[in-house]
């Protein structure tokens, strides 16, 4: 893969995009997981699929949109879905998680209709579902790069506020944090990161890249900063190992990336178990 990397532009696109999402997906994933909102990622990835389907349908019916990259329509749908989730969460104050199945099922429902209007599944759609090492073009790599820079800058600027809001919303309010605005900013970032990641890991597995590395990091870390650091390390490892094996085994990268992440998770669980047992033995002797 190393030689081919310099030879083929598509491999460079996939690898660079992979490295970028390996960073931002777990970074935002930490905030999602600690707020127990893991399913938000699933809801938004499905609404992204609806956007992709809408774009594929338009491509068939309207000649003017022949060379639109469906990813951008996916982003538009994802961001719209994110804003809708925030609104619904306010409407159902005591059942905040209800917003997620509403958006999720709405996304799939509309998606199915659009897909069959566009004459069903084709190979394109398959690569959106499970990821692809060949689907990322230069332009969308640059888009993902800009999104990465924006996400990192915003997380650094609002780190305090994001932390307070995740830990204790009431305390955030009495600290003068504008919860509404920060929530909105955050969920829009999540929507963009999901639409970006989709090209490499695929819609069905995007949420795994946001949550599995965090699940592994939670086993090992005491502090919030450490959780972020480890999550990113696990995310990057999953993406790199996953892309490499995907290329060599000729299987979609979504599968190999997620299986690597699961392997890492199992390893951390076993490591934690073993170190606890050693500790107990050490105490006893």
């Amino acid at each position: 893969m190393i030689e081919s990397f310099f030879q083929y532009e598509f491999l460079q696109n996939a690898a660079i995009t992979g490295i970028l999402i390996g960073l931002i997906a777990p970074l935002l994933g930490v905030f999602i997981v600690v707020r127990r909102l893991s399913l938000i990622a699933d809801a938004l990835s499905h609404i992204t699929l609806t956007g992709i389907a809408a774009s594929l349908l338009l491509e068939k019916r309207v000649t003017a949109v022949q060379d639109w990259n469906p990813v951008y329509m996916g982003m538009v749908f994802s961001v719209a879905g994110a804003i809708l989730i925030e609104r619904l969460r306010k409407l159902y104050k005591h059942y905040e998680e209800l917003a997620i199945p509403i958006i999720l099922s709405g996304g799939i429902g509309l998606g199915v209709i659009l897909i069959s209007l566009a004459d069903g599944f084709n190979t394109d759609l398959f690569s959106y579902l499970f990821g692809s090492v060949t689907a990322v073009d230069r332009a969308s790599m640059w888009t993902v790069l800009s999104i990465t820079v924006a996400v990192i800058v915003i997380v650094i600027l609002f780190y305090k506020e994001l932390f307070v809001l995740s830990f204790d919303e009431e305390h955030a309010a009495t600290s003068g944090v504008n919860a509404r605005w920060i929530h909105l900013l955050f969920i829009v970032m999540v929507a963009l990161v999901i639409a970006s990641s989709m090209q490499v890991v695929g819609i069905l597995l995007v949420s795994a890249l946001m949550t599995l590395p965090v699940a592994a990091a939670l086993r090992l870390s005491k502090s919030f900063k450490q959780t972020i650091g480890l999550s990113i390390a696990f995310g990057e490892t999953s993406v790199l190992v996953g892309l490499f094996s995907s290329y060599h085994l000729s299987v979609p990268p979504g599968g190999t990336i997620v299986m690597t992440a699961i392997l890492l998770l199992i390893m951390t669980i076993l490591y934690k178990k073993m170190s606890q047992q050693l500790w107990i033995k050490g105490e006893a002797s």
Binding site: K160, F167, D168, H171, G176, K222, F224, Q226
Partner: protein, 261 residues
């Protein structure tokens, strides 16, 4: 010294859905007071505090904090708050005690500015005040309930507030630390001039320490100096609690309200 009251409530009423929980409450808290807020379960104490902090919006009346209408109030670093539900955070949350206490500085630091070394030292010294400095690097979820409560008190103290609001802060704290805690409150109040508002069910102890007492059940039944409250006799308490109440005197001169249905 400023000449406006720290908290001013003017004919404030509030209802969740339909039921009125706070009815026509007017009160002022002046700088330097140590105010105990007592009343039976469900009497609206926590709700009154939420109204004061703008966490719920009153259905009627006006509230001013530090002389400003609550909606315009921005100076949150002046207020430290320990909620009754402080302990109900996600106990698997990956944060150290130090990170939690540093979060108490968010209002002081302000937007677009970062935590630095000075903030870390401030947080450590707040932890020292509550005797929890040894746990600075422990995970917050690994502490006992009483220890967590002390960490939340440190978080409320870290921004050097001039008003400290505590909703049943000593629940789950052992008696040694409760005594220490009241001594600490006394010091903060007398030496640093911090205004204190504390909700408690421990009527005996609060009247020993507080300068003023408010007794409420939807509306304010008593508001005055603690000495006068001692004379607010058994009959009044019975009426307020809605059933027979006995003042029990423990061997260390410690009264508690005892419900007898």
């Amino acid at each position: 010294m400023n000449n406006y009251p720290i908290v001013e409530m003017d004919h404030v009423s509030f209802k969740y859905e339909k039921e009125t929980v706070v009815q026509d409450v007017s009160l002022t808290i002046d700088q330097g007071q140590f105010l105990g807020l007592v009343g039976p379960n469900g009497s609206g104490k926590s709700t009154l505090i939420k109204l004061m902090l703008g966490l719920e919006k009153q259905t009627k009346g006006k509230i001013r904090l530090f002389g400003q209408p609550i909606k315009q109030f921005k100076d949150w670093k002046e207020i430290g708050f320990v909620s009754q539900k402080a302990n109900s955070f996600n106990s698997g949350f990956p944060a150290t005690v130090l990170e939690v206490v540093k979060a108490g500085l968010v209002s002081k630091i302000g937007t677009f500015k970062f935590f630095n070394k000075k903030h870390k030292e401030k947080a450590l010294s707040a932890l020292k005040t509550v005797g929890m400095e040894a746990y600075a690097h422990s995970n917050i979820g690994d502490l006992s309930g009483g220890q967590q409560q002390r960490v939340f008190i440190a978080r409320a103290l870290v921004s050097d507030p001039s008003l400290l609001i505590l909703d049943e802060p000593t629940v789950g704290v052992d008696s040694k630390h409760v005594t220490e805690f009241y001594n600490l409150l006394g010091r903060l109040n007398k030496e640093e001039g911090i205004t204190l508002l504390m909700v408690t069910h421990d009527i005996g102890t609060i009247t020993d320490h507080a300068t003023h007492v408010i007794c409420m059940n939807k509306t304010v039944h008593f508001h005055g100096a603690s000495e006068e409250y001692d004379e607010f006799n058994e009959q009044d308490l019975n009426r307020l609690y809605g059933h027979s109440v006995q003042q029990l005197t423990h061997n260390h001169d410690h009264h508690e309200v005892y419900h007898n249905d």
